[in-house]
């Protein structure tokens, strides 16, 4: 460290600032984490499956062949066929589209709403906090599956309504996490410092507080994608979400349920698909949390 009045490099040319981006740093940390990479591979597989379903799937999603019904897994049908002779593998591949859409949309929607509610409640405190958090408490008092069922029942079936139902159920978790993080961060001296340079409330929340709460929010997002996929599948399974002819994983489970004892593969593979993607998302979420923590950066 130089002394106070010595310019260390007076000839330095000022110019565009070279800065190692946050993304790159996070990626560096993430790469070291083997489990997170496994999770990431699973997620990327899901995305590839969803995007290139037409190319990957050996059969059409609704191609029926009644002569081939209930075929066990073989070279021809690696996951076997179901009661209409449809290829289970192809249907699992197509099903990833529903899962991806529902998971991502529901997580983004609930994160946005939850973050707004949590930020306002945590930052302003007092009455705003009380009113908002009591509303959240009411929502928390209703089991999220029950809440989902009621919302779909009220709004009707269909993928959009499933997304809304699942998202609403996930809002309280976000609101609470964001509020708690904001409460701990807003008392920090650098927030006072931000006020003392004349930053507005919105700026303080968006630029100074939320980035400091990012780690738990990111983890929550990945976890809630997983939860949303699971819940949407559950809704479909009980016949309220995406309806059976569609190749949604939960709907496939539901349709295969009567034959489970004789033809295990019809139900097992969609179930495994759900499990793997949730496993992947959770692993990735944990890895991301570690990589995003500024205290662990070097």
């Amino acid at each position: 460290m130089g002394t106070a009045n010595v310019r260390i490099s007076p000839s330095l040319e000022f110019g565009a600032v070279k800065k190692e981006g946050m993304l790159r740093q996070t990626w560096k940390g993430l790469k070291k984490n083997k489990l997170a990479m496994v999770g990431l591979v699973l997620i990327i597989l899901l995305i590839i499956m969803a995007v290139f379903a037409d190319v990957i799937a050996p059969y059409g999603v609704d191609d029926q062949d009644l002569t081939q019904k209930f075929q066990p897994p073989s070279m021809e049908h690696i996951f076997g066929t179901d009661d209409f002779g449809r290829d289970v593998f192809s249907r699992v591949i197509y099903g990833s589209r529903y899962s991806l859409a529902i998971g991502a949309c529901a997580a983004i929607l609930s994160a946005a709403v939850g973050m707004i509610i949590g930020s306002v409640a945590g930052f302003y405190g007092g009455k705003a906090d009380n009113i908002l958090m009591r509303l959240i408490d009411i929502m928390l008092a209703i089991p999220s599956t029950l809440l989902g069922i009621s919302i779909v029942a009220a709004l009707g079936n269909g993928i959009r309504n499933v997304i809304i139902a699942v998202a609403i159920g996930a809002v309280p978790a976000y609101a609470r996490i964001v509020r708690a993080s904001i409460l701990s961060v807003k008392e920090q001296e650098y927030i006072e410092a931000a006020r003392s340079i004349g930053a507005s409330d919105l700026r303080i929340i968006m630029r100074h507080i939320l980035p400091n709460c990012l780690a738990p929010i990111i983890v929550q997002i990945t976890m809630s994608v997983a939860k949303a996929i699971l819940e949407a599948s559950a809704l479909s399974f009980i016949g309220l979400g995406v309806q059976p002819p569609s190749a949604e994983w939960g709907a496939m489970l539901s349709a295969a349920r009567p034959y489970f004892r004789s033809y295990w593969w019809v139900m097992t593979f969609p179930g495994l698909a759900i499990m793997m993607i949730i496993f992947g998302l959770n692993l990735f979420g944990d890895g991301l949390r570690d990589a995003l923590d500024p205290k662990l950066k070097s």
């Binding site: 460290m1 130089g2 002394t3 106070a4 009045n5 010595v6 310019r7 260390i8 490099s9 007076p10 330095l12 000022f14 110019g15 565009a16 600032v17 070279k18 800065k19 190692e20 920090q188 001296e189 650098y190 006072e192 410092a193 931000a194 006020r195 003392s196 340079i197 004349g198 930053a199 507005s200 700026r203 630029r207 100074h208 980035p211 400091n212 990012l214 500024p294 205290k295 950066k297």
Partner: protein
């Protein structure tokens, strides 16, 4: 002293807790001229930081409340400004250096971005221009501009405090409030940082309020000194008034408790007793319970500030009675 840039009149700040009222600042008067440096000295809990936060109108409300007085900055009452005007003032006209550089920088933003932020908040410049100015500020406080993209945890305590100083001075404020800027630093770094503050202040002709409990620091940097006790200024004057003619018993006590290098003493001479409970200040003079010269009158009568020589005021009955 020319036109005062800051003039605090009869300021009182109270904190309301459950049932009790903490009287943090009581009827405080203070003036500061353009380019002047004032040392605000007092024990922990004397109300120094509260006074500083009031100047920025940043007292957390609730529980704090400015219950009376005026704070005139540049002819305008800070306490009457709208939120928008306050935001414009903070960081641009008045800026603040906080006590602990470890916690006053945002850990997730690069130091350069944090300097650039204050520049972008107060002047219409592009992102690139702000980043160039921020690099210049870093150079000015003796840190290489190449470290723009580094995060606060990559800096040592002394360097972080320099970054904080760079943020505070980025918009050439007319008043700088330094709240114990060197308390969290070790002694060698303290000297560097103080020297730098004094140097930059001089260059930019900024007025400064230096809050500290270190009389040595004050002697090095300040023109005027105000001694605070229990939310009041008990003695105010220029350096020689305070250091050579300390008149208030509390100020004398403060100097008495500094060990003298020339004398071989085994024990320090502290001021007996503790600060009074700010929820229950004594009647009369607030220093009376600890004062070696306390009389019966001191316990009932609250003294007024009296000028004992030009520019040197003392709040003690001893001097009030002399005149009468």
């Amino acid at each position: 002293m020319g036109e005062p840039i800051l003039s605090i009149q009869d300021l009182s700040v109270h904190f309301f807790k459950d049932k009790s009222v903490v009287q943090a600042v009581n009827h405080l008067n203070l003036q500061l001229g353009v380019g002047e440096t004032l040392g605000l000295v007092g024990e922990t809990g004397a109300g120094k930081t509260t006074t500083a936060m009031s100047i920025m109108n940043l007292i957390p409300n609730p529980p704090g409340k400015i219950v009376g007085g005026k704070i005139m900055f540049d002819g305008e009452d800070v306490l009457k400004k709208s939120k928008r005007e306050l935001r414009k003032m903070r960081g641009h006209d008045i800026s603040m250096i906080f006590q602990d550089p470890m916690t006053s920088l945002n850990p997730v933003l690069t130091v350069g971005d944090q300097i650039a932020e204050v520049i972008r908040l107060h002047s219409q410049v592009s992102r690139a221009e702000a980043s160039i100015k921020a690099q210049e500020m870093l150079e000015m406080v003796g840190i290489s501009g190449e470290r723009y993209g580094d995060y606060p945890h990559q800096f040592s305590g002394g360097m972080k405090q320099r970054v904080v100083i760079a943020i505070a001075l980025a918009c050439n404020p007319r008043l700088l409030i330094a709240d114990e800027p060197t308390t969290a630093l070790d002694v060698t770094i303290q000297a560097q940082v103080l020297e730098m503050i004094a140097d930059l202040k001089h260059k930019l002709n900024t007025a400064m309020i230096l809050i500290t409990h270190d009389l040595g620091v004050v002697a090095q940097v300040c023109d005027k000194v105000a001694i605070m006790y229990a939310g009041e200024i008990v003695e105010y004057g220029d350096l020689s008034d305070i250091y050579e003619h300390a008149s208030h018993p509390y100020t004398q006590g403060l100097f008495g408790s500094i060990p003298d290098l020339d004398k071989d003493t085994d024990r320090l001479n502290p001021i007996a007793g503790l600060m009074p409970d700010p929820t229950n200040l004594p009647k009369g003079c607030s220093f009376s319970p600890r004062c070696p010269h306390c009389t019966e009158a001191c316990k009932t009568q609250d003294p007024e500030l009296r000028e004992i020589s030009p520019g040197h005021t003392v709040k003690c009955l001893m001097f009030q009675n002399q005149e009468e």
